[in-house]
Protein backbone atom coordinates (compact mmCIF):
# COMPACT_ATOMS: atom_id res chain seq x y z
CA UNK A 1 0.00 0.00 0.00
CA UNK A 2 1.60 3.27 -1.07
CA UNK A 3 2.17 6.19 1.27
CA UNK A 4 0.93 9.43 -0.19
CA UNK A 5 2.92 12.63 0.09
CA UNK A 6 0.95 15.82 -0.71
CA UNK A 7 1.63 16.97 -4.23
CA UNK A 8 3.56 13.83 -5.18
CA UNK A 9 1.78 11.52 -7.63
CA UNK A 10 1.66 7.76 -7.15
CA UNK A 11 1.37 5.71 -10.34
CA UNK A 12 -0.27 2.31 -10.54
CA UNK A 13 -1.57 0.07 -13.26
CA UNK A 14 -4.52 -0.99 -11.09
CA UNK A 15 -7.74 1.04 -10.80
CA UNK A 16 -7.93 0.87 -6.98
CA UNK A 17 -5.38 1.80 -4.36
CA UNK A 18 -5.29 1.72 -0.56
CA UNK A 19 -3.87 4.79 1.14
CA UNK A 20 -1.35 3.80 3.80
CA UNK A 21 -1.79 5.74 7.05
CA UNK A 22 1.17 5.69 9.46
CA UNK A 23 -0.25 5.37 12.99
CA UNK A 24 2.63 7.53 14.21
CA UNK A 25 1.72 10.21 11.68
CA UNK A 26 -2.00 9.99 10.98
CA UNK A 27 -3.69 12.17 8.43
CA UNK A 28 -4.43 15.56 9.99
CA UNK A 29 -7.99 16.33 10.99
CA UNK A 30 -10.03 17.92 8.26
CA UNK A 31 -10.60 17.52 4.58
CA UNK A 32 -8.11 15.83 2.31
CA UNK A 33 -8.44 15.99 -1.41
CA UNK A 34 -7.35 13.17 -3.66
CA UNK A 35 -6.93 13.50 -7.40
CA UNK A 36 -6.91 10.91 -10.15
CA UNK A 37 -5.54 11.33 -13.68
CA UNK A 38 -5.60 8.38 -16.08
CA UNK A 39 -3.26 7.91 -19.02
CA UNK A 40 -4.02 5.70 -22.00
CA UNK A 41 -1.58 3.57 -23.96
CA UNK A 42 -1.02 6.44 -26.40
CA UNK A 43 0.09 8.77 -23.63
CA UNK A 44 -3.10 10.84 -23.62
CA UNK A 45 -3.95 12.16 -20.20
CA UNK A 46 -7.41 12.76 -18.77
CA UNK A 47 -8.66 15.82 -16.96
CA UNK A 48 -8.22 15.31 -13.21
CA UNK A 49 -11.08 14.11 -11.03
CA UNK A 50 -11.05 14.84 -7.32
CA UNK A 51 -12.70 13.51 -4.18
CA UNK A 52 -12.63 14.77 -0.61
CA UNK A 53 -12.10 12.57 2.43
CA UNK A 54 -12.84 14.05 5.87
CA UNK A 55 -10.87 12.90 8.92
CA UNK A 56 -13.01 13.80 11.91
CA UNK A 57 -11.69 15.03 15.23
CA UNK A 58 -12.51 12.71 18.13
CA UNK A 59 -12.24 15.44 20.77
CA UNK A 60 -13.33 18.73 19.16
CA UNK A 61 -15.73 19.80 16.42
CA UNK A 62 -14.65 19.21 12.82
CA UNK A 63 -15.15 21.98 10.26
CA UNK A 64 -15.81 21.00 6.67
CA UNK A 65 -16.14 23.84 4.18
CA UNK A 66 -17.53 23.14 0.73
CA UNK A 67 -17.70 25.65 -2.09
CA UNK A 68 -18.08 25.50 -5.87
CA UNK A 69 -14.75 25.29 -7.72
CA UNK A 70 -15.52 28.40 -9.74
CA UNK A 71 -18.14 31.10 -10.00
CA UNK A 72 -18.82 33.88 -12.46
CA UNK A 73 -17.61 37.35 -11.62
CA UNK A 74 -20.27 39.36 -9.81
CA UNK A 75 -22.21 36.32 -8.62
CA UNK A 76 -22.39 35.40 -4.96
CA UNK A 77 -20.31 32.52 -3.59
CA UNK A 78 -22.15 29.95 -1.50
CA UNK A 79 -20.03 28.84 1.46
CA UNK A 80 -21.44 25.61 2.84
CA UNK A 81 -20.46 24.30 6.26
CA UNK A 82 -23.28 21.79 6.67
CA UNK A 83 -20.92 18.81 6.60
CA UNK A 84 -19.25 20.09 9.79
CA UNK A 85 -19.91 18.07 12.93
CA UNK A 86 -19.28 17.88 16.65
CA UNK A 87 -18.40 14.95 18.86
CA UNK A 88 -21.72 13.55 20.10
CA UNK A 89 -23.70 14.72 22.00
CA UNK A 90 -22.28 18.20 21.28
CA UNK A 91 -23.72 20.64 18.79
CA UNK A 92 -22.13 23.33 16.70
CA UNK A 93 -23.16 26.78 17.89
CA UNK A 94 -21.11 29.16 15.72
CA UNK A 95 -19.63 29.23 12.25
CA UNK A 96 -16.64 31.54 11.77
CA UNK A 97 -15.90 32.40 8.14
CA UNK A 98 -12.86 34.18 6.81
CA UNK A 99 -11.75 35.07 3.32
CA UNK A 100 -7.99 34.51 3.51
CA UNK A 101 -6.95 36.09 0.20
Amino acid sequence: MPAFVPGTPVETTEPTVEVTVDPQRPLPIGRHRFQLVVVDDSGNRSAPDTVDVVVRDSQNPTAVLRVASQVEFGKSITLDGRASSDVPPGKIARYIWTMLD
Partner: protein, 397 residues
Protein backbone atom coordinates in the same frame (compact mmCIF):
# COMPACT_ATOMS: atom_id res chain seq x y z
CA UNK B 1 -25.45 38.93 1.93
CA UNK B 2 -22.13 39.84 3.50
CA UNK B 3 -19.15 41.30 1.66
CA UNK B 4 -15.99 39.65 2.88
CA UNK B 5 -12.88 41.64 3.69
CA UNK B 6 -9.67 39.62 3.57
CA UNK B 7 -8.70 38.21 6.98
CA UNK B 8 -11.72 39.71 8.75
CA UNK B 9 -13.81 36.93 10.32
CA UNK B 10 -17.58 36.78 10.03
CA UNK B 11 -19.62 34.77 12.52
CA UNK B 12 -23.00 33.17 11.90
CA UNK B 13 -25.25 30.70 13.61
CA UNK B 14 -26.21 29.23 10.24
CA UNK B 15 -24.07 26.75 8.30
CA UNK B 16 -24.52 28.46 4.95
CA UNK B 17 -23.51 31.97 3.96
CA UNK B 18 -23.47 33.78 0.62
CA UNK B 19 -20.36 35.88 0.00
CA UNK B 20 -20.51 38.83 -2.34
CA UNK B 21 -18.07 41.06 -4.15
CA UNK B 22 -15.04 38.77 -4.30
CA UNK B 23 -12.46 39.97 -6.85
CA UNK B 24 -11.55 37.77 -9.81
CA UNK B 25 -8.90 35.14 -9.23
CA UNK B 26 -8.33 32.28 -6.80
CA UNK B 27 -9.96 33.04 -3.45
CA UNK B 28 -9.34 30.99 -0.30
CA UNK B 29 -11.97 30.78 2.43
CA UNK B 30 -11.63 29.33 5.90
CA UNK B 31 -14.30 27.90 8.21
CA UNK B 32 -13.84 27.27 11.92
CA UNK B 33 -16.78 25.89 13.94
CA UNK B 34 -17.33 26.22 17.65
CA UNK B 35 -19.63 24.09 19.79
CA UNK B 36 -21.77 25.11 22.75
CA UNK B 37 -18.90 24.45 25.15
CA UNK B 38 -16.56 26.76 23.29
CA UNK B 39 -14.49 24.00 21.71
CA UNK B 40 -13.16 25.05 18.34
CA UNK B 41 -12.29 23.05 15.30
CA UNK B 42 -9.22 23.21 13.12
CA UNK B 43 -9.84 25.47 10.11
CA UNK B 44 -11.19 23.94 6.95
CA UNK B 45 -9.89 25.75 3.88
CA UNK B 46 -11.50 25.76 0.45
CA UNK B 47 -10.55 27.48 -2.78
CA UNK B 48 -12.92 29.00 -5.30
CA UNK B 49 -12.01 30.62 -8.58
CA UNK B 50 -13.89 33.77 -9.40
CA UNK B 51 -13.85 33.92 -13.17
CA UNK B 52 -12.87 37.25 -14.66
CA UNK B 53 -15.52 39.05 -16.70
CA UNK B 54 -15.37 38.45 -20.42
CA UNK B 55 -17.32 39.19 -23.57
CA UNK B 56 -17.35 38.11 -27.20
CA UNK B 57 -17.47 40.09 -30.44
CA UNK B 58 -18.56 38.47 -33.70
CA UNK B 59 -15.79 38.68 -36.32
CA UNK B 60 -14.82 36.54 -39.28
CA UNK B 61 -15.42 34.53 -41.20
CA UNK B 62 -12.38 32.42 -40.41
CA UNK B 63 -10.26 34.50 -38.00
CA UNK B 64 -6.59 33.50 -38.24
CA UNK B 65 -4.58 36.23 -36.53
CA UNK B 66 -4.97 39.33 -34.39
CA UNK B 67 -3.01 42.38 -33.27
CA UNK B 68 -3.68 45.07 -30.69
CA UNK B 69 -3.54 48.83 -31.23
CA UNK B 70 -2.89 50.30 -27.79
CA UNK B 71 -3.49 53.86 -28.96
CA UNK B 72 -7.08 53.29 -29.99
CA UNK B 73 -7.81 50.23 -27.82
CA UNK B 74 -8.84 48.27 -30.86
CA UNK B 75 -8.09 44.71 -31.84
CA UNK B 76 -7.46 44.11 -35.54
CA UNK B 77 -8.64 40.60 -36.39
CA UNK B 78 -7.49 39.06 -39.67
CA UNK B 79 -10.09 36.76 -41.25
CA UNK B 80 -9.15 34.25 -43.93
CA UNK B 81 -12.62 34.29 -45.43
CA UNK B 82 -15.05 31.50 -46.20
CA UNK B 83 -15.15 28.86 -48.92
CA UNK B 84 -17.53 31.08 -50.87
CA UNK B 85 -15.52 34.23 -50.46
CA UNK B 86 -12.15 34.24 -52.18
CA UNK B 87 -10.83 37.19 -50.24
CA UNK B 88 -10.11 37.75 -46.62
CA UNK B 89 -10.89 40.70 -44.42
CA UNK B 90 -9.88 42.58 -41.31
CA UNK B 91 -12.39 43.22 -38.52
CA UNK B 92 -11.43 46.23 -36.45
CA UNK B 93 -13.03 45.56 -33.06
CA UNK B 94 -13.31 48.29 -30.44
CA UNK B 95 -12.95 46.98 -26.89
CA UNK B 96 -14.71 49.94 -25.33
CA UNK B 97 -17.78 49.60 -27.54
CA UNK B 98 -17.53 45.80 -27.75
CA UNK B 99 -18.29 45.72 -31.46
CA UNK B 100 -16.69 45.70 -34.87
CA UNK B 101 -16.15 49.29 -35.95
CA UNK B 102 -14.85 48.68 -39.47
CA UNK B 103 -14.27 45.85 -41.94
CA UNK B 104 -11.50 46.00 -44.52
CA UNK B 105 -11.35 43.60 -47.47
CA UNK B 106 -7.84 42.26 -48.19
CA UNK B 107 -6.39 39.59 -50.48
CA UNK B 108 -6.68 35.82 -50.77
CA UNK B 109 -6.14 33.54 -47.78
CA UNK B 110 -4.51 36.06 -45.47
CA UNK B 111 -2.46 34.51 -42.69
CA UNK B 112 -0.84 37.22 -40.56
CA UNK B 113 -1.31 40.85 -39.66
CA UNK B 114 0.99 43.43 -38.09
CA UNK B 115 0.29 46.97 -36.90
CA UNK B 116 2.70 49.86 -37.08
CA UNK B 117 4.03 50.78 -33.64
CA UNK B 118 4.89 54.29 -34.85
CA UNK B 119 2.97 57.31 -33.61
CA UNK B 120 2.09 58.73 -37.02
CA UNK B 121 1.35 57.63 -40.61
CA UNK B 122 0.24 54.40 -39.14
CA UNK B 123 -0.22 51.41 -41.34
CA UNK B 124 -1.30 47.83 -40.91
CA UNK B 125 0.01 45.05 -43.11
CA UNK B 126 -2.00 41.92 -43.90
CA UNK B 127 -0.10 39.08 -45.56
CA UNK B 128 -2.17 37.37 -48.25
CA UNK B 129 -0.60 33.95 -48.53
CA UNK B 130 -3.09 32.85 -51.15
CA UNK B 131 -2.05 35.38 -53.81
CA UNK B 132 1.49 36.29 -52.76
CA UNK B 133 0.75 39.87 -51.82
CA UNK B 134 0.51 42.13 -48.81
CA UNK B 135 -2.30 44.62 -48.24
CA UNK B 136 -1.13 47.93 -46.82
CA UNK B 137 -3.92 49.53 -44.80
CA UNK B 138 -4.13 53.11 -43.59
CA UNK B 139 -5.01 52.67 -39.93
CA UNK B 140 -6.85 55.97 -39.72
CA UNK B 141 -9.04 55.70 -42.81
CA UNK B 142 -9.22 51.89 -42.65
CA UNK B 143 -8.65 51.78 -46.40
CA UNK B 144 -6.28 49.57 -48.36
CA UNK B 145 -3.83 51.98 -49.95
CA UNK B 146 -1.84 49.39 -51.89
CA UNK B 147 -1.61 45.70 -52.63
CA UNK B 148 2.03 44.78 -53.17
CA UNK B 149 3.22 41.50 -54.71
CA UNK B 150 5.99 40.03 -52.54
CA UNK B 151 6.50 36.49 -53.81
CA UNK B 152 5.07 33.04 -53.35
CA UNK B 153 3.65 31.87 -50.06
CA UNK B 154 4.41 34.81 -47.80
CA UNK B 155 3.89 34.08 -44.13
CA UNK B 156 4.94 35.96 -41.01
CA UNK B 157 5.25 39.72 -40.89
CA UNK B 158 6.38 42.48 -38.56
CA UNK B 159 6.77 46.25 -38.88
CA UNK B 160 9.78 48.30 -37.82
CA UNK B 161 9.58 50.64 -34.84
CA UNK B 162 9.49 53.73 -37.06
CA UNK B 163 6.63 52.29 -39.10
CA UNK B 164 8.57 52.61 -42.37
CA UNK B 165 9.40 48.97 -43.18
CA UNK B 166 7.53 45.70 -43.13
CA UNK B 167 9.54 42.50 -43.09
CA UNK B 168 7.62 39.64 -44.72
CA UNK B 169 8.80 36.06 -44.47
CA UNK B 170 8.98 33.98 -47.65
CA UNK B 171 10.05 30.30 -47.85
CA UNK B 172 13.76 31.22 -48.04
CA UNK B 173 14.06 34.96 -47.51
CA UNK B 174 12.68 38.08 -45.90
CA UNK B 175 11.18 40.67 -48.22
CA UNK B 176 11.49 44.29 -47.12
CA UNK B 177 8.42 46.33 -48.06
CA UNK B 178 8.75 50.12 -48.04
CA UNK B 179 5.44 51.21 -46.49
CA UNK B 180 5.98 54.83 -47.55
CA UNK B 181 6.63 54.09 -51.22
CA UNK B 182 4.46 50.96 -51.03
CA UNK B 183 6.93 48.83 -52.97
CA UNK B 184 9.33 46.00 -52.34
CA UNK B 185 12.66 47.56 -51.40
CA UNK B 186 14.89 44.55 -50.89
CA UNK B 187 15.06 40.81 -50.39
CA UNK B 188 17.24 39.51 -47.58
CA UNK B 189 18.36 35.87 -47.75
CA UNK B 190 18.01 34.16 -44.37
CA UNK B 191 18.10 30.56 -43.21
CA UNK B 192 15.93 27.68 -44.33
CA UNK B 193 12.14 27.81 -43.86
CA UNK B 194 11.89 30.98 -41.81
CA UNK B 195 8.87 30.76 -39.55
CA UNK B 196 8.77 33.99 -37.57
CA UNK B 197 10.14 37.55 -37.81
CA UNK B 198 10.11 40.03 -34.98
CA UNK B 199 11.46 43.56 -34.73
CA UNK B 200 13.15 44.88 -31.66
CA UNK B 201 11.31 47.84 -30.17
CA UNK B 202 14.51 49.86 -30.39
CA UNK B 203 14.38 49.38 -34.15
CA UNK B 204 17.99 48.29 -34.49
CA UNK B 205 17.51 44.60 -35.19
CA UNK B 206 15.02 42.03 -36.36
CA UNK B 207 15.25 38.33 -35.51
CA UNK B 208 14.10 35.57 -37.83
CA UNK B 209 13.57 32.03 -36.58
CA UNK B 210 14.55 29.54 -39.31
CA UNK B 211 12.75 26.26 -38.65
CA UNK B 212 14.52 24.46 -41.48
CA UNK B 213 18.10 24.68 -40.20
CA UNK B 214 17.85 25.41 -36.47
CA UNK B 215 19.12 28.98 -36.64
CA UNK B 216 18.04 32.51 -35.88
CA UNK B 217 19.09 35.20 -38.34
CA UNK B 218 19.88 38.58 -36.82
CA UNK B 219 19.11 41.37 -39.29
CA UNK B 220 20.74 44.77 -38.91
CA UNK B 221 17.77 47.05 -39.58
CA UNK B 222 19.89 50.00 -40.74
CA UNK B 223 21.75 47.95 -43.37
CA UNK B 224 18.81 45.63 -43.98
CA UNK B 225 21.20 42.73 -44.06
CA UNK B 226 21.91 39.71 -41.89
CA UNK B 227 24.61 40.62 -39.39
CA UNK B 228 24.76 37.29 -37.59
CA UNK B 229 23.33 33.80 -37.65
CA UNK B 230 23.11 31.90 -34.39
CA UNK B 231 22.35 28.25 -33.85
CA UNK B 232 19.56 27.52 -31.37
CA UNK B 233 18.68 24.25 -29.75
CA UNK B 234 22.12 22.87 -30.53
CA UNK B 235 20.97 21.02 -33.64
CA UNK B 236 19.86 21.59 -37.22
CA UNK B 237 16.66 19.72 -36.38
CA UNK B 238 15.69 22.01 -33.49
CA UNK B 239 13.08 23.75 -35.71
CA UNK B 240 12.72 27.12 -34.00
CA UNK B 241 9.07 28.10 -34.36
CA UNK B 242 8.66 31.16 -32.22
CA UNK B 243 11.01 33.92 -31.16
CA UNK B 244 10.07 36.37 -28.44
CA UNK B 245 11.86 39.52 -27.43
CA UNK B 246 12.09 41.59 -24.29
CA UNK B 247 11.29 45.29 -24.62
CA UNK B 248 15.00 46.06 -24.87
CA UNK B 249 15.40 43.16 -27.34
CA UNK B 250 17.65 40.97 -25.23
CA UNK B 251 17.50 38.42 -23.80
CA UNK B 252 15.61 36.93 -26.73
CA UNK B 253 13.98 33.53 -26.38
CA UNK B 254 13.39 30.80 -28.96
CA UNK B 255 11.03 27.83 -28.77
CA UNK B 256 12.53 24.86 -30.64
CA UNK B 257 9.99 22.01 -30.80
CA UNK B 258 12.15 19.92 -33.12
CA UNK B 259 14.35 18.64 -30.29
CA UNK B 260 12.40 19.73 -27.20
CA UNK B 261 14.63 22.64 -26.37
CA UNK B 262 14.40 26.32 -25.70
CA UNK B 263 17.11 28.90 -26.15
CA UNK B 264 17.95 32.26 -24.69
CA UNK B 265 20.00 34.65 -26.83
CA UNK B 266 22.15 37.27 -25.15
CA UNK B 267 23.05 40.76 -26.43
CA UNK B 268 26.41 39.44 -27.71
CA UNK B 269 24.46 36.72 -29.56
CA UNK B 270 25.76 33.91 -27.39
CA UNK B 271 23.11 31.23 -27.02
CA UNK B 272 22.20 29.16 -23.97
CA UNK B 273 20.12 26.09 -24.82
CA UNK B 274 18.09 24.11 -22.31
CA UNK B 275 15.95 21.00 -22.47
CA UNK B 276 12.18 21.15 -21.98
CA UNK B 277 9.97 18.31 -20.81
CA UNK B 278 7.86 18.49 -23.98
CA UNK B 279 8.20 19.99 -27.46
CA UNK B 280 7.15 23.63 -27.13
CA UNK B 281 6.14 25.74 -30.13
CA UNK B 282 5.02 28.94 -28.42
CA UNK B 283 6.86 31.38 -26.19
CA UNK B 284 6.07 34.72 -24.55
CA UNK B 285 8.32 36.85 -22.36
CA UNK B 286 7.88 39.34 -19.57
CA UNK B 287 8.64 43.02 -19.99
CA UNK B 288 12.27 42.70 -18.95
CA UNK B 289 12.79 39.41 -20.74
CA UNK B 290 13.96 37.63 -17.61
CA UNK B 291 11.05 35.16 -17.57
CA UNK B 292 9.64 33.22 -20.52
CA UNK B 293 6.60 30.96 -20.71
CA UNK B 294 6.82 28.09 -23.19
CA UNK B 295 3.68 26.36 -24.46
CA UNK B 296 3.73 22.63 -25.21
CA UNK B 297 3.05 21.84 -28.86
CA UNK B 298 1.11 18.62 -28.32
CA UNK B 299 0.87 18.20 -24.54
CA UNK B 300 -0.84 20.58 -22.08
CA UNK B 301 2.44 21.73 -20.60
CA UNK B 302 3.40 25.24 -19.62
CA UNK B 303 7.07 25.71 -18.76
CA UNK B 304 8.21 28.80 -16.91
CA UNK B 305 11.87 29.53 -17.50
CA UNK B 306 13.60 32.24 -15.52
CA UNK B 307 17.02 33.48 -16.45
CA UNK B 308 18.78 33.71 -13.12
CA UNK B 309 22.47 34.18 -12.50
CA UNK B 310 23.33 33.22 -16.04
CA UNK B 311 21.42 29.95 -16.00
CA UNK B 312 17.83 29.00 -16.82
CA UNK B 313 15.62 27.76 -13.97
CA UNK B 314 12.61 25.76 -15.17
CA UNK B 315 9.25 25.16 -13.49
CA UNK B 316 6.56 23.13 -15.25
CA UNK B 317 2.79 23.11 -14.93
CA UNK B 318 0.35 20.65 -16.45
CA UNK B 319 -2.79 22.43 -17.53
CA UNK B 320 -6.21 20.73 -17.45
CA UNK B 321 -6.58 20.57 -21.22
CA UNK B 322 -6.58 16.94 -22.29
CA UNK B 323 -6.20 16.26 -25.95
CA UNK B 324 -4.07 19.16 -26.98
CA UNK B 325 -1.27 21.47 -26.10
CA UNK B 326 -1.52 25.20 -25.66
CA UNK B 327 -0.62 27.05 -28.80
CA UNK B 328 -0.53 30.71 -27.89
CA UNK B 329 0.39 32.73 -24.83
CA UNK B 330 -0.10 36.36 -23.91
CA UNK B 331 1.35 37.97 -20.78
CA UNK B 332 -0.40 40.82 -18.97
CA UNK B 333 1.19 44.28 -18.92
CA UNK B 334 2.10 43.88 -15.24
CA UNK B 335 3.74 40.49 -15.99
CA UNK B 336 1.59 38.79 -13.33
CA UNK B 337 -0.83 36.75 -15.43
CA UNK B 338 -0.80 34.91 -18.73
CA UNK B 339 -3.60 33.73 -20.99
CA UNK B 340 -3.00 30.41 -22.71
CA UNK B 341 -5.15 29.16 -25.59
CA UNK B 342 -5.85 25.49 -26.30
CA UNK B 343 -7.06 25.11 -29.88
CA UNK B 344 -8.00 21.41 -29.62
CA UNK B 345 -10.14 21.95 -26.53
CA UNK B 346 -12.71 24.64 -26.08
CA UNK B 347 -10.94 26.58 -23.36
CA UNK B 348 -8.48 29.26 -22.42
CA UNK B 349 -6.46 29.14 -19.22
CA UNK B 350 -5.45 32.04 -17.01
CA UNK B 351 -2.24 31.26 -15.15
CA UNK B 352 0.12 33.06 -12.82
CA UNK B 353 3.53 33.91 -14.23
CA UNK B 354 5.46 33.88 -10.95
CA UNK B 355 4.67 30.21 -10.43
CA UNK B 356 2.90 28.61 -13.40
CA UNK B 357 -0.35 27.85 -11.61
CA UNK B 358 -3.86 27.76 -13.01
CA UNK B 359 -6.09 30.61 -11.88
CA UNK B 360 -9.15 29.94 -14.01
CA UNK B 361 -10.23 28.02 -17.07
CA UNK B 362 -12.80 29.69 -19.29
CA UNK B 363 -14.92 28.00 -21.89
CA UNK B 364 -14.23 29.19 -25.43
CA UNK B 365 -16.57 27.37 -27.77
CA UNK B 366 -15.04 25.95 -30.96
CA UNK B 367 -11.42 26.27 -30.07
CA UNK B 368 -9.43 29.48 -29.48
CA UNK B 369 -6.55 29.89 -31.91
CA UNK B 370 -4.29 32.82 -31.04
CA UNK B 371 -4.10 35.37 -28.30
CA UNK B 372 -2.73 38.84 -27.73
CA UNK B 373 -2.37 41.09 -24.70
CA UNK B 374 -4.69 44.06 -25.20
CA UNK B 375 -4.17 46.38 -22.26
CA UNK B 376 -6.66 45.47 -19.54
CA UNK B 377 -7.91 42.58 -21.66
CA UNK B 378 -6.49 39.35 -22.98
CA UNK B 379 -8.00 38.66 -26.39
CA UNK B 380 -8.23 35.42 -28.31
CA UNK B 381 -9.73 34.59 -31.69
CA UNK B 382 -12.00 31.55 -31.76
CA UNK B 383 -12.98 29.20 -34.53
CA UNK B 384 -16.66 30.06 -34.16
CA UNK B 385 -15.87 33.47 -35.67
CA UNK B 386 -15.60 35.31 -32.38
CA UNK B 387 -13.14 37.49 -30.58
CA UNK B 388 -13.06 36.59 -26.88
CA UNK B 389 -11.96 39.38 -24.55
CA UNK B 390 -11.13 38.50 -20.94
CA UNK B 391 -10.77 41.31 -18.44
CA UNK B 392 -7.65 40.37 -16.53
CA UNK B 393 -7.17 43.79 -14.97
CA UNK B 394 -9.08 42.93 -11.81
CA UNK B 395 -7.60 39.49 -11.29
CA UNK B 396 -5.59 39.37 -8.09
CA UNK B 397 -2.98 36.69 -7.55
Amino acid sequence: MPVFTPNVALETAEPIVEAEGAPAGRRRFSLVVEDEDGNRSEPSIAVVTVLPPSFRVAVGPGPVDLAYDDRTREVWVLNSGSAERNRGSVSVAGLARRQVLATVVVGAKPSEIALSPAADRRRAVAVNTGDGTVSIIDMQTRQVTATVPVGERPGAVDISADGRWAYVVLPAAVVVVDLLRQTVAKTIPVGAQPARVIFATNGREALVGNSGDGTVSVIDAARQAVSDTVRVGGATASKPQEVALAVETYPAWSANPGNRTGSVIQPDHTVLDFRLEEACAGVAVTFDGQIALFAGADQPLLARVAFEGGRPAIANARLPAPGGGPKGIAISPNDAIALVVHPETAAVSLVTVKRPQLIARLEAPRGPLRTVAAGSFACAICQDDALLAVDWSGVTV
